[in-house]
């Protein structure tokens, strides 16, 4: 998977590393912004109230 990605990236090794770093940062930012806030309510450790929910 990552080997395939590496072979299909253009440029020299430093350029490919830079592209991968940018890609990883983008994935992480997307997770922090959208994915994690969306799944956090499903986690079982954030309930603080008493009563029906």
């Amino acid at each position: 998977m990552y080997g395939w990605l590496w072979r299909h990236l253009p440029g020299s090794t430093p350029v490919r590393v830079a592209i991968l770093v940018v890609l990883a940062a983008a994935v992480l930012a997307a997770c922090f912004t959208w994915l994690f806030p969306a799944i956090a309510p499903l986690m079982p450790f954030n309930d603080t109230t008493v009563g029906a929910r």
Binding site: Y2, P41, T48
Partner: protein, 267 residues
């Protein structure tokens, strides 16, 4: 072609077909492995987000909320107006009022921030906003401490009940277990300070709503005391139980009189 055999090619003349299914299986296994590693990294990232980043964002957001309450700044801008030059520096201490009933505000609409909360025992904690509602997504995660709708307002006879995160989302009630009987809990609205004192703490099941009844623990009984109740999760990082703090009003004071002695030392 007489090129030298590449590493990895079958030796001993194995049938080419069998080798290719084998390498496909190996490649598939490699992909599965990479996916598992990726899932592990994402899980780690989620923990970083939940345990650290929500605190960063929450503290920033809650400080901003308090800053935007134009009344919430500690009224220390008055010392220059103090007519007594020999007076000690620092904020004016408000005299405790117990002579008459404290003023009680009307309950605001959902999401409205109507009070702030300070606990001197939690030294270093900022002044936290208190907003109407206990919905997780819109109040507890976004605004901080939430007031159970329908419970008493600050100073009123009944039970002023609030919920807050003990971990994550700026964790306003993180240090709730440090509270001891007699500790002050200082609530401020636009016009009034309300100084409560802790009377007891307990650990209950999540469905034990009696803790936020007008008389804590005795649903249906008509209240005569001005109580306060904090609810948060217990144990930390779990939703199995709830940690409850009860208190009663000690005194109140108009904001225009100064600052309660309980919080004048710090801040």
């Amino acid at each position: 072609m007489t090129a030298p055999a590449r590493v990895g090619l079958p030796r001993h003349g194995r049938p080419a077909r069998r080798t290719s299914t084998g390498s496909v299986a190996l490649a598939g296994l490699g992909v599965v492995g990479e996916l598992l590693i990726t899932a592990g990294v994402l899980l780690l990232a989620f923990l970083v987000w939940q345990l650290w980043w929500t605190d960063v964002e929450g503290n920033r957001a809650q400080a901003e909320i308090v800053r935007n309450l134009d009344w919430a700044q500690a009224p220390t801008a008055a010392p220059s107006a103090a007519p007594t030059p020999g007076a000690t520096a620092g904020p004016v201490i408000a005299a405790p009022r117990r002579d008459q009933d404290p003023p009680v505000e009307a309950e605001p609409g959902l999401l409205a921030t109507f009070a702030t909360l300070q606990v001197p025992r939690w030294d270093g904690e900022p002044q936290r906003p208190v907003s109407e509602g206990v919905d997780k997504a819109t109040v507890l995660d976004a605004l901080g401490i939430g007031h159970y709708p329908g419970t008493a307002m600050p100073g009123a006879i009944g039970n002023f009940a609030m919920a807050g995160h003990r971990t994550t989302y700026a964790k306003p009630f993180n240090r709730v277990a440090e509270l001891q009987v007699g500790d002050p809990i200082v609530v401020r609205t636009e016009s009034t300070w309300y100084v409560y004192r802790v009377t007891s703490t307990e650990i209950v099941r999540p469905q034990d709503v009696a803790v936020i009844a007008p008389v804590p623990g005795k649903p249906g009984v008509a209240p005569t005391e001005r109580s306060i109740t904090l609810t948060t999760c217990h144990p930390m990082f779990s939703a199995r139980q709830r940690f409850i703090v009860h208190g009663v009003l000690d005194y109140w004071a108009p904001v225009s009189d100064g600052v309660p002695a309980e919080i004048a030392g710090g801040a």
